[in-house]
């Protein structure tokens, strides 16, 4: 078996005295594709935030990409790619400015930005401020960023939401690419995957825990 991309044992994560996660144990193989589903409010977003090192572990043990999540979130954060529910980066900067900022921060080549924008269909909006984009376009900006970024572990929160058919098709392609490149993906979704060529592991959450895993 490939080395583990993430390993959680009885993780509890509390925020404002409310346990967002109430004891999650999970093991993800490198190169795997995991889809997290579950009812609204069951803790999918919280789990992804935890894996990204943005929500801190209150109890339990957690390792992501071989790094201890409890003591070294900074290291973890640097190595994961994140696509959230809401827009990303700075609302007041334009699409391109945001990507340039992010790419410079991670020392990614800037000349990958233009092709990425082209691929996600945002080339004609590259000078519009992020806050003026439509919901789906904001999503697409995040996808463009993921293209430029090439993370080891991808955490995607409801990536299909607000995307139109073409966008979803494009996302499926992207997923295929990532899988072939050996990247690990964890995504939350309410629908089953569209792409038929991929065989995801399904994890079902309820009440802040995993109730079913295949």
């Amino acid at each position: 078996m490939s080395p583990s991309a993430a390993e959680l044992r009885d993780v509890v994560a509390v925020q404002q005295q409310f346990p967002l996660l109430s004891g999650v144990s999970l093991s993800l193989a490198t190169g795997s594709l995991t889809v997290v589903t579950g009812a609204n409010g069951s803790g999918k977003t919280s789990l992804l935030r935890l894996l990204a090192g943005v929500l801190s572990v209150t109890h339990g043990a957690a390792t992501v990409l071989g790094v201890d999540l409890v003591s070294q979130h900074a290291e973890v954060r640097r190595r994961v790619g994140w696509l959230g529910h809401d827009g990303s980066f700075y609302q007041d900067l334009s699409v391109r400015e945001n990507l340039v900022f992010a790419a410079t921060a991670l020392q990614r080549p800037l000349d990958e930005i233009a092709p990425a924008l082209e691929r996600v269909g945002l080339a004609h909006r590259s000078d519009v401020r992020t806050k003026d984009l439509s919901a789906g376009q904001r999503r697409r900006l995040s996808l463009a960023w993921l293209l430029v970024r090439r993370a080891e572990l991808w955490l995607l929160d409801e990536p299909y939401a607000s995307l139109d058919d073409e966008g979803r098709r494009f996302f499926d392609e992207l997923l295929d690419d990532v899988q072939r490149g050996g990247g690990t993906v964890v995504m939350s979704a309410h629908d089953v995957l569209r792409s038929t060529s991929l065989e995801p592991d399904i994890v079902v959450m309820a009440g802040g825990r995993i109730v079913e895993a295949s």
Binding site: V80, H85, G87, Y90
Partner: protein, 218 residues
Amino acid sequence: MIRTAWLVTRKDLRIEMRSRVLLWQVVPFGALALLLCGLALGPADAGHSRAAPGLFYLVTLFVALLMINRSQAVEQTVGTAESVATLGLDPAGVFLGKTMALTLELWASATLLLAGTVVVLHTSLIGTVHAVPSVLVTLGAMACAGTLYGALSAGNEGPATLLPILALPAFAPLLVAGERSFSAALHGGALWEWWVIDLVALAGYVAIGVLLYGVLEE
């Protein structure tokens, strides 16, 4: 670190430029503050120039609080915090970058306000020019402290709530020292001693920030 700092500075200044808060907020506010003070002290000139340093720093304090607030607010919008966190920026660089941007903004507003005190409160031009280095250092120290406390208070309730109570006690000595050395520049007196306090504070805050900012970002 320097690279990150520079990146963050440019980003913050660009966002600030877009919203032009500096221009629309600082200038009218400074003008009205000067007006009110002119009123409160009556038409005598002597009083005006004596109160000028305190007034200058009071207005600067307002402006600084507003800017620190904004400087943190842009990081806290929904979605922004997570995506920026996963860039894994070097915390020391972020600290230096945000401080630098704040410092530049404060310097810009201080220039305007100093010009205002000369014109409106009749402080002596030469004295004011002498005060400039000390003002620059004091504002630099305020920016450092502000960035640190801004990060401390970021979180659930937004910086607006907690920031002042955290930052003000730290600002107080800086402001006192700044005010004293400005006064000294205007009316004679121990110019350097106070100045040195702010310089030491600046160095201390920079050191603490570079070392500990990473701890603050969870």
